[in-house]
């Protein structure tokens, strides 16, 4: 029921997913450091962002480069509301809803105007729209803080000044807010892709003309999928704003973030949704821990001249790239695609 009749299928995959979710569920108690908590929060946020993108790319076959724009709308919605009207829960809710509403409207407009064109032209249009949003965020300084972005106060309940007892504080509240909202959004997306609508989306991905010949209004369904994905991405952006207490173009609207999302979807497995959980975890762990791990290994092999050079922490991006190539080579349908039984 909770998984909408779509369990992970496959023992290894189920164990992997259960471990990730269980660790995320108790992360503040297992890893009390601020950095570890930030990693867990980022994983939870990226799961929602990537799952919503997978609904577009993996389930509907829509290639969009504007997904981070919707992520940014949610983040800026909360940031602007908190900056302008003070650090209250009402502002958080209003900001998140405003960002989500804007994301839905823009996604619907972009969809209705451009989903009729061929996939490659649609992708180009979304790229242009995303670039425009990035420029807009950088130039509307009064509202967005320009390139510097916005730093703001969050409700006191979410800060370390809010004491919970037992050594815990508002950071724990922030974490469980992010974890709970992310879990609810993921389960909602899982429900959508396993609903009659999800079936139509998969039919559209496979052959749009065949779907139309069955009487399905594909433009409407594609636009609806785009709007739902945009809404989820926007809410993920709002969570990021609460986590970072900062929003800027690089953090939410950058093209490198868009590439990260694409990589996570490919690594995790397109059209599986569960791939978002595996992919986001691998990507975030690699981004945060590969460099220090290489530093440790370089020290361990300090006596071996070539190994020390190869494991130099400054070369972490090279190893990250090789790791991704290996994953794509050995798991062409993504990790979940490979581990999932038909």
């Amino acid at each position: 029921m909770l998984l909408s009749g779509d369990p992970p299928r496959g023992r290894i995959l189920s164990a992997m997913l259960a471990t990730i979710v269980a660790v995320l569920a108790v992360a503040p108690f297992l890893f009390p450091s601020t950095r570890a908590l930030a990693v867990a929060e980022r994983i939870a946020i990226l799961i929602v962002l990537t799952a919503s993108y997978d609904m577009l790319l993996g389930y509907t076959g829509i290639v969009s480069f504007a997904h981070t724009m919707f992520f940014g709308m949610g983040a800026y919605g909360v940031a602007i509301a908190l900056t302008r009207f003070g650090a209250g829960w009402g502002q958080v809710v209003i900001g998140a809803l405003a960002g989500m509403l804007l994301a839905i409207v823009v996604a619907a407009i972009v969809g209705l105007l451009s989903l009729r064109v061929r996939a490659i032209f649609f992708a180009m249009i979304t790229l242009a729209v995303a670039s425009f949003a990035q420029i807009l965020a950088s130039t509307m300084r009064d509202w967005t803080g320009g390139e510097d972005g916005l730093t703001f106060e969050v409700p006191k309940t979410l800060t370390s000044a809010f004491r919970l007892g037992g050594g815990y504080n508002g950071n724990l509240v922030t974490y469980y807010l992010i974890f709970t909202v992310a879990a609810v959004l993921f389960l909602f997306l899982l429900r959508v892709v396993n609903s009659p609508m999800g079936r139509v989306l998969q039919a559209i991905r496979e052959n749009e003309f065949r779907a139309e010949a069955l009487g399905l209004r594909t433009l409407w369904y594609r636009t609806l999928a785009g709007a739902i994905a945009a809404a989820a991405a926007s809410l993920a952006g709002s969570l990021l704003a609460l986590q970072l207490r900062y929003t800027g173009p690089d953090a939410t609207l950058s093209f490198s973030l868009m590439v990260d999302i694409l990589l996570i979807v490919v690594i995790g497995g397109m059209g599986t949704l569960y791939g978002a959980i595996v992919g986001a975890t691998i990507m975030t762990m690699a981004q945060y821990y590969l460099q220090p791990a290489m530093g440790g290994l370089a020290n361990a092999f300090s006596g071996v001249p070539l190994m020390q050079a190869v494991l130099d922490p400054d070369r972490w991006l090279l190893w990250l790239g090789l790791l991704f190539i290996a994953i794509v080579y050995f798991f062409p349908t993504g990790i979940v695609g490979r581990l999932r039984t038909p």
Binding site: S195, P196, R199, V200, Q202, A203, E206, N207, F209, R210, A211, E212, A213, L214, G215, L216, R217, T218, P342
Partner: protein
């Protein structure tokens, strides 16, 4: 004489730079099986795709149940009650048999009486109900494609070369299925290269050549006239028995 359900008048269709249909005129009557025959490249598939709005008619009219449909979009045409089974079977290989059938209903469940009727026609689909359609055999895929077209009551069934590439025993199954559909007075427009099947199930026939209808009449008359078969289709029923 039963009433006309679908009528094409002077339909012209271009695909890219090429004009494929040069004024197609024919009618399909309610409760009958109309065969659309012709050599390869005569324009049969283009005619069906034009009826479904997948390719736009540049000129002429298409009337279905008294309503002009040539300007409507494909989903709207399908929703008027026309089920289309394309030449390539048109199944969704990554969805299960059940999910393929559900797509045609627009609901989250299948009526048990319709499902029983379908399984009576295609018992193989019952056994493979929960497997992805992509793993079905060619014949089973065709059964699914036809099954999906008839799972809901439709006014007209438009089928493009259902026997193409299928084994003889599967063709026999399909012939029997179309006979049964005919008995239930389903209106069918059927493009077919297999002349034996055409004779077995067809009531009326329209023969196409070079994007035009060059003969229209009863299937029985064409089946009985070997010289006419030779002239129109370059074959005779005798060699296809």
């Amino acid at each position: 004489m039963s009433e006309v359900l679908l009528e094409l008048r002077g339909v012209e269709t271009r695909v890219g730079r090429y004009q494929i249909l040069h004024g197609v005129d024919f009618a399909a009557r309610r409760g009958r099986v109309t065969m659309l025959l012709g050599r390869n490249g005569a324009g049969k598939t283009t005619t069906l795709r034009t009826i479904m709005g997948l390719w736009r008619a540049g000129a002429g009219s298409i009337t279905f149940a008294g309503r002009r449909i040539e300007a409507l979009g494909t989903p709207e045409i399908a929703r008027l009650g026309i089920a289309y089974v394309p030449e390539t079977m048109g199944i969704f290989s990554q969805l299960t048999v059940r999910e393929n059938l559900l797509l045609a209903t627009g609901r989250d469940g299948l009526a048990s009486d319709r499902l029983d009727r379908l399984f009576a026609l295609f018992p193989a689909l019952r056994e493979r109900y929960s497997v992805p359609a992509g793993v079905l055999s060619g014949g089973q895929k065709q059964m699914l494609a036809i099954g999906r077209a008839i799972i809901e009551p439709r006014s007209l069934l438009v089928v493009d070369e259902p026997t193409k590439g299928l084994a003889p025993h599967v063709i026999e199954v399909l012939i029997e299925v179309f006979r049964r559909l005919k008995q239930s007075e389903t209106t069918i427009l059927l493009v077919e290269q297999n002349f034996r099947m055409a004779v077995s199930v067809g009531d009326d026939v329209a023969v196409m050549d070079d994007g035009r209808i060059v003969h229209a009449g009863s299937m029985a008359d064409l089946a009985a006239d070997e010289a006419l078969q030779h002239r129109l289709l370059g074959l005779s029923l005798a060699v296809h028995q």
